[in-house]
Protein backbone atom coordinates (compact mmCIF):
# COMPACT_ATOMS: atom_id res chain seq x y z
CA UNK A 1 0.00 0.00 0.00
CA UNK A 2 1.42 3.39 -1.04
CA UNK A 3 -1.42 5.73 -0.08
CA UNK A 4 -4.48 5.25 2.10
CA UNK A 5 -7.20 7.80 2.79
CA UNK A 6 -9.54 7.21 5.71
CA UNK A 7 -12.64 9.17 6.73
CA UNK A 8 -11.30 12.10 4.73
CA UNK A 9 -13.59 15.12 4.69
CA UNK A 10 -13.47 18.66 3.44
CA UNK A 11 -15.76 21.54 4.28
CA UNK A 12 -14.96 25.04 3.10
CA UNK A 13 -15.95 27.76 5.53
CA UNK A 14 -16.55 30.90 3.52
CA UNK A 15 -16.05 33.75 5.97
CA UNK A 16 -16.73 36.39 3.34
CA UNK A 17 -20.18 34.85 2.80
CA UNK A 18 -21.16 35.16 6.42
CA UNK A 19 -19.44 31.95 7.46
CA UNK A 20 -21.27 29.76 4.94
CA UNK A 21 -20.27 26.11 5.31
CA UNK A 22 -19.71 24.30 2.03
CA UNK A 23 -19.17 20.55 2.54
CA UNK A 24 -17.60 19.01 -0.58
CA UNK A 25 -16.17 15.66 0.52
CA UNK A 26 -17.38 13.46 3.35
CA UNK A 27 -15.76 10.24 4.52
CA UNK A 28 -13.56 9.47 1.53
CA UNK A 29 -11.80 6.13 2.00
CA UNK A 30 -9.58 4.36 -0.51
CA UNK A 31 -6.22 2.69 -0.95
CA UNK A 32 -3.72 2.80 -3.77
CA UNK A 33 -1.01 0.20 -4.17
CA UNK A 34 2.38 0.52 -5.79
CA UNK A 35 2.20 0.07 -9.57
CA UNK A 36 -1.50 0.86 -9.68
CA UNK A 37 -3.24 3.74 -11.47
CA UNK A 38 -6.49 4.74 -9.82
CA UNK A 39 -8.79 7.22 -11.50
CA UNK A 40 -11.11 9.53 -9.57
CA UNK A 41 -14.40 9.73 -11.47
CA UNK A 42 -17.60 11.69 -11.08
CA UNK A 43 -19.28 14.78 -12.52
CA UNK A 44 -17.95 18.31 -12.46
CA UNK A 45 -17.99 19.78 -8.97
CA UNK A 46 -18.12 16.36 -7.29
CA UNK A 47 -14.85 17.04 -5.45
CA UNK A 48 -12.23 15.18 -7.50
CA UNK A 49 -9.71 18.01 -7.56
CA UNK A 50 -10.36 18.80 -3.91
CA UNK A 51 -9.43 15.22 -2.98
CA UNK A 52 -6.27 15.37 -5.09
CA UNK A 53 -5.29 18.71 -3.55
CA UNK A 54 -5.76 17.28 -0.04
CA UNK A 55 -3.53 14.36 -1.03
CA UNK A 56 -0.87 16.90 -1.98
CA UNK A 57 -1.29 18.98 1.19
CA UNK A 58 -2.40 21.95 -0.88
CA UNK A 59 -5.89 21.93 0.67
CA UNK A 60 -6.21 21.29 4.39
CA UNK A 61 -8.40 18.29 5.22
CA UNK A 62 -11.16 19.12 7.69
CA UNK A 63 -10.89 15.65 9.24
CA UNK A 64 -9.64 12.17 8.54
CA UNK A 65 -6.20 10.91 7.61
CA UNK A 66 -4.02 10.39 4.57
CA UNK A 67 -1.34 7.81 5.16
CA UNK A 68 1.52 7.84 2.73
CA UNK A 69 4.60 5.66 2.60
CA UNK A 70 7.49 8.08 2.91
CA UNK A 71 11.05 6.83 3.31
CA UNK A 72 9.93 3.45 4.64
CA UNK A 73 7.51 4.93 7.15
CA UNK A 74 3.78 5.58 7.05
CA UNK A 75 3.14 9.28 7.65
CA UNK A 76 -0.18 11.06 8.09
CA UNK A 77 -0.10 13.97 5.69
CA UNK A 78 -3.10 15.62 7.38
CA UNK A 79 -1.21 15.97 10.65
CA UNK A 80 2.23 16.61 9.11
CA UNK A 81 4.07 19.88 9.76
CA UNK A 82 4.68 22.14 6.75
CA UNK A 83 8.32 21.09 6.76
CA UNK A 84 7.39 17.42 6.62
CA UNK A 85 4.89 18.06 3.82
CA UNK A 86 7.67 19.73 1.82
CA UNK A 87 10.00 16.79 2.43
CA UNK A 88 7.27 14.38 1.33
CA UNK A 89 6.78 16.41 -1.85
CA UNK A 90 10.50 16.45 -2.52
CA UNK A 91 11.07 12.73 -2.02
CA UNK A 92 7.79 10.90 -2.37
CA UNK A 93 4.91 12.80 -3.87
CA UNK A 94 4.79 14.27 -7.38
CA UNK A 95 1.96 16.35 -8.80
CA UNK A 96 0.97 17.37 -12.30
CA UNK A 97 -1.49 20.21 -11.96
CA UNK A 98 -3.97 21.13 -14.64
CA UNK A 99 -2.24 24.44 -15.31
CA UNK A 100 1.38 25.38 -15.18
CA UNK A 101 2.19 28.14 -12.72
CA UNK A 102 4.88 30.03 -14.56
CA UNK A 103 7.81 31.71 -12.88
CA UNK A 104 9.07 34.81 -14.68
CA UNK A 105 12.33 34.45 -16.59
CA UNK A 106 12.94 30.74 -15.92
CA UNK A 107 13.51 28.75 -19.15
CA UNK A 108 11.23 25.80 -19.93
CA UNK A 109 14.14 23.36 -19.66
CA UNK A 110 14.94 24.64 -16.15
CA UNK A 111 11.30 24.51 -15.09
CA UNK A 112 11.39 20.82 -16.02
CA UNK A 113 14.80 20.16 -14.45
CA UNK A 114 13.95 21.87 -11.15
CA UNK A 115 12.49 18.89 -9.26
CA UNK A 116 15.70 16.93 -9.95
CA UNK A 117 17.89 19.85 -8.88
CA UNK A 118 15.88 20.21 -5.66
CA UNK A 119 16.64 16.56 -4.96
CA UNK A 120 20.33 17.23 -5.29
CA UNK A 121 21.00 16.28 -8.93
CA UNK A 122 23.79 17.93 -10.84
CA UNK A 123 22.37 20.82 -12.91
CA UNK A 124 23.88 19.67 -16.20
CA UNK A 125 22.58 16.12 -15.75
CA UNK A 126 19.15 17.43 -14.78
CA UNK A 127 19.02 19.66 -17.90
CA UNK A 128 19.99 16.71 -20.05
CA UNK A 129 17.15 14.64 -18.64
CA UNK A 130 14.78 17.59 -18.99
CA UNK A 131 15.71 17.94 -22.67
CA UNK A 132 14.96 14.25 -23.22
CA UNK A 133 11.53 14.65 -21.63
CA UNK A 134 10.70 17.75 -23.68
CA UNK A 135 11.89 16.02 -26.82
CA UNK A 136 9.74 13.02 -26.09
CA UNK A 137 6.71 15.28 -25.63
CA UNK A 138 7.45 16.95 -28.98
CA UNK A 139 8.02 20.42 -27.61
CA UNK A 140 9.86 22.28 -30.40
CA UNK A 141 13.50 22.73 -29.46
CA UNK A 142 13.40 26.47 -30.17
CA UNK A 143 11.13 26.85 -27.11
CA UNK A 144 13.33 25.08 -24.59
CA UNK A 145 15.34 28.12 -23.57
CA UNK A 146 12.27 30.41 -23.32
CA UNK A 147 10.13 30.99 -20.22
CA UNK A 148 6.80 29.17 -20.72
CA UNK A 149 4.67 32.24 -19.84
CA UNK A 150 4.00 32.96 -23.53
CA UNK A 151 3.52 29.31 -24.61
CA UNK A 152 0.18 27.97 -25.88
CA UNK A 153 -2.02 25.98 -23.50
CA UNK A 154 -0.88 22.65 -24.92
CA UNK A 155 2.79 23.65 -24.85
CA UNK A 156 2.56 24.75 -21.23
CA UNK A 157 0.81 21.53 -20.36
CA UNK A 158 3.62 19.49 -21.91
CA UNK A 159 6.20 21.42 -19.87
CA UNK A 160 4.09 20.67 -16.82
CA UNK A 161 3.90 16.96 -17.67
CA UNK A 162 7.64 16.75 -18.31
CA UNK A 163 8.26 18.36 -14.93
CA UNK A 164 5.90 15.95 -13.19
CA UNK A 165 7.19 12.79 -14.83
CA UNK A 166 10.93 13.54 -14.68
CA UNK A 167 11.47 12.32 -11.11
CA UNK A 168 11.15 8.83 -9.69
CA UNK A 169 8.69 9.81 -6.98
CA UNK A 170 6.89 6.66 -5.76
CA UNK A 171 3.50 8.44 -5.78
CA UNK A 172 2.23 10.64 -8.58
CA UNK A 173 -0.94 12.77 -8.61
CA UNK A 174 -2.34 13.76 -12.01
CA UNK A 175 -5.04 16.42 -12.42
CA UNK A 176 -6.21 16.23 -16.04
CA UNK A 177 -2.73 16.14 -17.56
CA UNK A 178 -4.12 15.50 -21.05
CA UNK A 179 -6.86 18.14 -21.10
CA UNK A 180 -5.29 20.46 -23.66
CA UNK A 181 -3.26 17.94 -25.70
CA UNK A 182 -3.71 16.61 -29.23
CA UNK A 183 -4.14 12.89 -29.92
CA UNK A 184 -0.45 12.20 -30.59
CA UNK A 185 0.66 13.80 -27.33
CA UNK A 186 -2.17 12.15 -25.41
CA UNK A 187 -0.76 8.81 -26.51
CA UNK A 188 2.67 9.77 -25.22
CA UNK A 189 1.20 10.59 -21.83
CA UNK A 190 -0.53 7.20 -21.83
CA UNK A 191 2.88 5.61 -22.47
CA UNK A 192 4.49 7.64 -19.68
CA UNK A 193 1.82 6.51 -17.24
CA UNK A 194 2.31 2.87 -18.28
CA UNK A 195 6.07 3.15 -17.74
CA UNK A 196 5.51 4.58 -14.25
CA UNK A 197 3.22 1.63 -13.45
CA UNK A 198 5.90 -0.78 -14.59
CA UNK A 199 8.31 0.93 -12.19
CA UNK A 200 5.91 0.43 -9.31
CA UNK A 201 4.75 4.03 -9.00
CA UNK A 202 1.32 4.52 -7.42
CA UNK A 203 -0.71 6.97 -9.53
CA UNK A 204 -3.94 8.75 -8.73
CA UNK A 205 -5.47 10.75 -11.55
CA UNK A 206 -8.39 12.68 -12.93
CA UNK A 207 -9.03 12.20 -16.66
CA UNK A 208 -12.06 13.54 -18.45
CA UNK A 209 -10.96 12.01 -21.73
CA UNK A 210 -12.64 8.60 -22.11
CA UNK A 211 -9.90 7.13 -24.29
CA UNK A 212 -7.14 8.05 -21.83
CA UNK A 213 -9.15 6.82 -18.88
CA UNK A 214 -9.78 3.45 -20.54
CA UNK A 215 -6.11 3.13 -21.36
CA UNK A 216 -4.63 3.93 -17.94
CA UNK A 217 -7.19 3.10 -15.23
CA UNK A 218 -6.76 -0.05 -13.19
CA UNK A 219 -9.72 1.03 -11.08
CA UNK A 220 -12.15 3.93 -11.07
CA UNK A 221 -13.29 5.41 -7.79
CA UNK A 222 -16.56 7.30 -8.16
CA UNK A 223 -16.25 10.21 -5.75
CA UNK A 224 -20.07 10.57 -5.62
CA UNK A 225 -19.71 7.85 -3.00
CA UNK A 226 -18.09 10.52 -0.79
CA UNK A 227 -20.73 13.19 -1.39
CA UNK A 228 -21.85 15.03 1.74
CA UNK A 229 -25.50 14.53 2.69
CA UNK A 230 -27.40 17.47 1.24
CA UNK A 231 -29.24 19.59 3.73
CA UNK A 232 -32.93 19.43 2.74
Amino acid sequence: MAVRARALSKTFCMHLQGGLELPVVDGAAFEVRAGECVVLGGPSGAGKSSILKMLYGNYAASSGEILIRHGGELVDLVAASPRLVLAIRRETLGYVSQFLRTVPRVAAVDVVAEPLVLRGANTAVARERASEMLDRLNLPQRLWQLPPATFSGGEQQRVNIARGFITDHPVLLLDEPTASLDAANRRIVIELIAEKKAKGVAQIGIFHDEEVREAVADRIIDVRGFAPARAA
Partner: protein, 261 residues
Amino acid sequence: MMRLQEMPLLSVEGLSRYYGERVGCRDVSFEVYPGEVLAIVGESGSGKTTLLNCISTRLEPSTGSVSYRMRDGAMRDLYRMSEAERRLLMRTDWGFVHQNPADGLRMTVSAGANVGERLMAVGERHYGRIRDTATHWLSRVEIAEDRIDDQPRAFSGGMRQRLQIARNLVTGPRLVFMDEPTGGLDVSVQARLLDLLRGLVNDLGLAAIVVTHDLAVARLLSHRMIVMKDGRVVEEGLTDRVLDDPQAPYTQLLVSSILQV
Protein backbone atom coordinates in the same frame (compact mmCIF):
# COMPACT_ATOMS: atom_id res chain seq x y z
CA MET B 1 22.40 12.89 17.42
CA MET B 2 20.15 15.26 15.49
CA ARG B 3 21.77 16.98 12.55
CA LEU B 4 21.92 20.77 12.66
CA GLN B 5 19.69 20.86 9.57
CA GLU B 6 16.88 19.33 11.58
CA MET B 7 17.03 21.82 14.42
CA PRO B 8 15.63 25.34 14.29
CA LEU B 9 18.01 28.13 13.41
CA LEU B 10 15.87 30.80 14.98
CA SER B 11 13.19 30.47 17.61
CA VAL B 12 10.81 33.27 18.59
CA GLU B 13 8.68 32.84 21.70
CA GLY B 14 5.87 35.01 22.96
CA LEU B 15 7.32 38.13 21.45
CA SER B 16 5.49 41.43 21.97
CA ARG B 17 6.45 45.01 21.31
CA TYR B 18 4.44 48.00 22.45
CA TYR B 19 4.91 51.63 21.51
CA GLY B 20 3.50 53.16 24.65
CA GLU B 21 -0.16 52.14 24.59
CA ARG B 22 -0.05 51.11 20.96
CA VAL B 23 0.58 47.51 19.94
CA GLY B 24 3.39 46.92 17.47
CA CYS B 25 3.17 43.13 17.59
CA ARG B 26 1.73 40.83 20.20
CA ASP B 27 2.53 37.32 21.42
CA VAL B 28 4.25 36.05 18.28
CA SER B 29 5.95 32.63 18.27
CA PHE B 30 7.52 30.72 15.41
CA GLU B 31 10.66 28.89 14.30
CA VAL B 32 12.80 29.06 11.20
CA TYR B 33 14.91 26.12 10.04
CA PRO B 34 18.12 26.16 8.01
CA GLY B 35 17.41 26.68 4.31
CA GLU B 36 13.83 27.72 4.96
CA VAL B 37 12.22 30.88 3.59
CA LEU B 38 9.48 32.33 5.75
CA ALA B 39 7.23 35.11 4.47
CA ILE B 40 5.49 37.51 6.84
CA VAL B 41 2.46 39.11 5.18
CA GLY B 42 -0.31 41.41 6.32
CA GLU B 43 -1.74 44.84 5.65
CA SER B 44 -0.02 48.11 6.38
CA GLY B 45 0.38 48.66 10.12
CA SER B 46 -0.10 44.98 11.00
CA GLY B 47 3.31 44.82 12.71
CA LYS B 48 5.53 43.14 10.12
CA THR B 49 8.41 45.60 10.33
CA THR B 50 8.15 45.75 14.11
CA LEU B 51 8.42 41.96 14.27
CA LEU B 52 11.32 41.81 11.81
CA ASN B 53 13.22 44.49 13.69
CA CYS B 54 12.66 42.74 17.01
CA ILE B 55 13.99 39.41 15.78
CA SER B 56 16.99 40.98 14.07
CA THR B 57 17.94 42.84 17.29
CA ARG B 58 17.32 46.23 15.74
CA LEU B 59 14.48 46.94 18.17
CA GLU B 60 14.16 45.69 21.74
CA PRO B 61 11.01 43.59 22.36
CA SER B 62 8.79 44.49 25.33
CA THR B 63 8.45 40.81 26.29
CA GLY B 64 9.34 37.41 24.86
CA SER B 65 12.52 35.84 23.64
CA VAL B 66 14.44 35.30 20.42
CA SER B 67 17.02 32.51 20.28
CA TYR B 68 19.50 31.75 17.55
CA ARG B 69 21.60 28.68 16.85
CA MET B 70 25.25 29.67 16.76
CA ARG B 71 27.70 27.96 14.40
CA ASP B 72 28.87 25.75 17.26
CA GLY B 73 25.31 24.38 17.58
CA ALA B 74 24.42 26.14 20.84
CA MET B 75 21.11 28.01 21.06
CA ARG B 76 21.58 31.52 22.47
CA ASP B 77 19.08 34.13 23.61
CA LEU B 78 19.87 37.17 21.47
CA TYR B 79 18.86 39.64 24.14
CA ARG B 80 21.15 38.04 26.73
CA MET B 81 24.23 38.45 24.55
CA SER B 82 26.63 41.29 24.91
CA GLU B 83 26.35 44.11 22.39
CA ALA B 84 29.72 43.06 20.94
CA GLU B 85 28.56 39.47 20.39
CA ARG B 86 25.39 40.69 18.70
CA ARG B 87 27.33 42.97 16.38
CA LEU B 88 29.66 40.14 15.39
CA LEU B 89 26.67 37.94 14.64
CA MET B 90 25.08 40.61 12.46
CA ARG B 91 28.32 41.01 10.54
CA THR B 92 29.18 37.37 10.03
CA ASP B 93 25.99 35.33 10.13
CA TRP B 94 23.20 37.64 9.06
CA GLY B 95 22.17 39.90 6.23
CA PHE B 96 19.56 42.64 6.26
CA VAL B 97 18.04 43.84 2.99
CA HIS B 98 16.15 47.10 3.40
CA GLN B 99 13.23 48.19 1.26
CA ASN B 100 15.07 51.39 0.44
CA PRO B 101 18.56 50.50 -0.87
CA ALA B 102 19.88 53.82 0.41
CA ASP B 103 19.37 52.49 3.97
CA GLY B 104 21.56 49.47 3.32
CA LEU B 105 24.21 50.91 1.01
CA ARG B 106 26.83 53.59 1.27
CA MET B 107 25.77 55.83 -1.56
CA THR B 108 29.01 57.75 -1.89
CA VAL B 109 31.49 54.88 -2.23
CA SER B 110 31.84 52.65 -5.30
CA ALA B 111 29.77 49.54 -5.93
CA GLY B 112 32.91 47.43 -5.53
CA ALA B 113 33.69 49.04 -2.18
CA ASN B 114 30.11 48.50 -0.99
CA VAL B 115 30.64 44.78 -1.43
CA GLY B 116 34.32 44.72 -0.43
CA GLU B 117 33.69 46.60 2.80
CA ARG B 118 31.64 43.75 4.18
CA LEU B 119 34.46 41.31 3.45
CA MET B 120 36.92 43.53 5.25
CA ALA B 121 34.57 43.69 8.21
CA VAL B 122 34.94 39.94 8.59
CA GLY B 123 38.70 40.09 8.41
CA GLU B 124 39.64 39.80 4.73
CA ARG B 125 42.70 41.99 4.05
CA HIS B 126 44.01 40.89 0.65
CA TYR B 127 43.11 43.61 -1.88
CA GLY B 128 43.21 41.38 -4.97
CA ARG B 129 40.95 38.77 -3.42
CA ILE B 130 38.51 41.40 -2.20
CA ARG B 131 38.28 42.89 -5.68
CA ASP B 132 37.87 39.47 -7.32
CA THR B 133 35.15 38.43 -4.92
CA ALA B 134 33.38 41.78 -5.35
CA THR B 135 33.50 41.40 -9.15
CA HIS B 136 32.17 37.87 -8.89
CA TRP B 137 29.27 38.97 -6.69
CA LEU B 138 28.39 41.90 -8.90
CA SER B 139 28.12 39.53 -11.85
CA ARG B 140 26.01 37.15 -9.77
CA VAL B 141 23.51 39.94 -9.25
CA GLU B 142 23.79 40.90 -12.92
CA ILE B 143 25.71 44.14 -12.56
CA ALA B 144 28.20 44.56 -15.42
CA GLU B 145 31.85 44.41 -14.45
CA ASP B 146 32.55 47.88 -15.86
CA ARG B 147 30.22 49.44 -13.27
CA ILE B 148 32.35 48.30 -10.30
CA ASP B 149 33.88 51.73 -9.75
CA ASP B 150 30.60 53.64 -10.08
CA GLN B 151 28.73 54.86 -7.03
CA PRO B 152 25.25 53.47 -6.36
CA ARG B 153 23.94 57.02 -6.77
CA ALA B 154 24.43 56.44 -10.50
CA PHE B 155 22.42 53.19 -10.45
CA SER B 156 18.73 52.57 -11.16
CA GLY B 157 16.46 51.41 -8.33
CA GLY B 158 16.63 47.79 -9.45
CA MET B 159 20.43 47.87 -9.73
CA ARG B 160 20.76 49.43 -6.28
CA GLN B 161 18.60 46.72 -4.82
CA ARG B 162 20.71 44.04 -6.51
CA LEU B 163 23.85 45.70 -5.18
CA GLN B 164 22.38 45.70 -1.68
CA ILE B 165 21.75 41.98 -2.04
CA ALA B 166 25.33 41.33 -3.17
CA ARG B 167 26.63 43.36 -0.22
CA ASN B 168 24.59 41.21 2.13
CA LEU B 169 25.38 37.82 0.65
CA VAL B 170 29.10 38.20 0.05
CA THR B 171 30.00 37.13 3.58
CA GLY B 172 28.04 33.87 3.32
CA PRO B 173 25.35 34.58 5.94
CA ARG B 174 23.11 31.79 7.22
CA LEU B 175 20.07 34.01 7.73
CA VAL B 176 18.88 37.00 5.75
CA PHE B 177 16.15 39.42 6.79
CA MET B 178 14.35 41.30 4.04
CA ASP B 179 11.80 44.07 4.49
CA GLU B 180 9.78 44.52 1.29
CA PRO B 181 12.76 43.74 -0.97
CA THR B 182 10.78 44.46 -4.14
CA GLY B 183 8.73 47.37 -2.82
CA GLY B 184 8.97 50.56 -4.82
CA LEU B 185 10.25 48.87 -7.98
CA ASP B 186 8.53 48.61 -11.38
CA VAL B 187 6.75 45.34 -12.01
CA SER B 188 9.24 44.12 -14.64
CA VAL B 189 12.19 45.07 -12.41
CA GLN B 190 10.49 43.25 -9.53
CA ALA B 191 10.17 40.07 -11.59
CA ARG B 192 13.87 40.08 -12.40
CA LEU B 193 14.83 40.70 -8.79
CA LEU B 194 12.52 37.99 -7.51
CA ASP B 195 13.90 35.50 -9.96
CA LEU B 196 17.42 36.39 -8.88
CA LEU B 197 16.56 36.10 -5.19
CA ARG B 198 14.85 32.78 -5.75
CA GLY B 199 17.94 31.39 -7.50
CA LEU B 200 20.36 32.70 -4.86
CA VAL B 201 18.32 31.41 -1.93
CA ASN B 202 18.13 27.95 -3.55
CA ASP B 203 21.79 27.81 -4.56
CA LEU B 204 23.13 29.02 -1.23
CA GLY B 205 20.67 27.13 0.96
CA LEU B 206 19.98 30.34 2.87
CA ALA B 207 17.33 30.77 5.49
CA ALA B 208 15.40 33.98 4.99
CA ILE B 209 12.61 35.93 6.61
CA VAL B 210 10.87 38.12 4.07
CA VAL B 211 8.37 40.79 4.99
CA THR B 212 6.06 41.64 2.12
CA HIS B 213 2.53 42.78 1.52
CA ASP B 214 2.69 41.24 -1.95
CA LEU B 215 1.25 37.72 -1.93
CA ALA B 216 2.82 36.93 -5.31
CA VAL B 217 6.25 37.58 -3.77
CA ALA B 218 5.40 35.27 -0.90
CA ARG B 219 4.17 32.59 -3.33
CA LEU B 220 7.34 32.72 -5.39
CA LEU B 221 9.94 32.96 -2.64
CA SER B 222 8.69 31.32 0.52
CA HIS B 223 8.12 27.83 1.84
CA ARG B 224 6.04 28.92 4.78
CA MET B 225 3.92 31.94 5.58
CA ILE B 226 2.75 33.89 8.58
CA VAL B 227 -0.27 36.17 8.20
CA MET B 228 -0.50 39.13 10.60
CA LYS B 229 -3.33 41.42 11.53
CA ASP B 230 -3.36 44.09 14.26
CA GLY B 231 0.00 42.86 15.54
CA ARG B 232 -1.09 39.22 15.93
CA VAL B 233 -0.50 36.09 13.87
CA VAL B 234 -3.90 35.04 12.47
CA GLU B 235 -2.74 32.15 10.29
CA GLU B 236 0.41 30.27 9.43
CA GLY B 237 1.32 27.27 7.31
CA LEU B 238 2.69 26.00 4.05
CA THR B 239 2.67 28.89 1.57
CA ASP B 240 0.56 27.28 -1.17
CA ARG B 241 -1.90 25.91 1.40
CA VAL B 242 -2.40 29.33 3.02
CA LEU B 243 -2.92 30.98 -0.38
CA ASP B 244 -5.12 28.30 -1.98
CA ASP B 245 -7.13 27.26 1.06
CA PRO B 246 -7.02 30.15 3.53
CA GLN B 247 -8.75 29.41 6.83
CA ALA B 248 -8.82 32.65 8.81
CA PRO B 249 -11.43 35.25 7.85
CA TYR B 250 -8.72 37.87 7.40
CA THR B 251 -6.58 35.62 5.15
CA GLN B 252 -9.63 34.88 2.99
CA LEU B 253 -10.21 38.61 2.62
CA LEU B 254 -6.54 39.20 1.77
CA VAL B 255 -6.45 36.44 -0.85
CA SER B 256 -9.78 37.44 -2.40
CA SER B 257 -8.77 41.08 -2.74
CA ILE B 258 -6.07 40.33 -5.26
CA LEU B 259 -6.62 39.26 -8.83
CA GLN B 260 -4.62 36.06 -8.95
CA VAL B 261 -1.46 34.80 -7.30
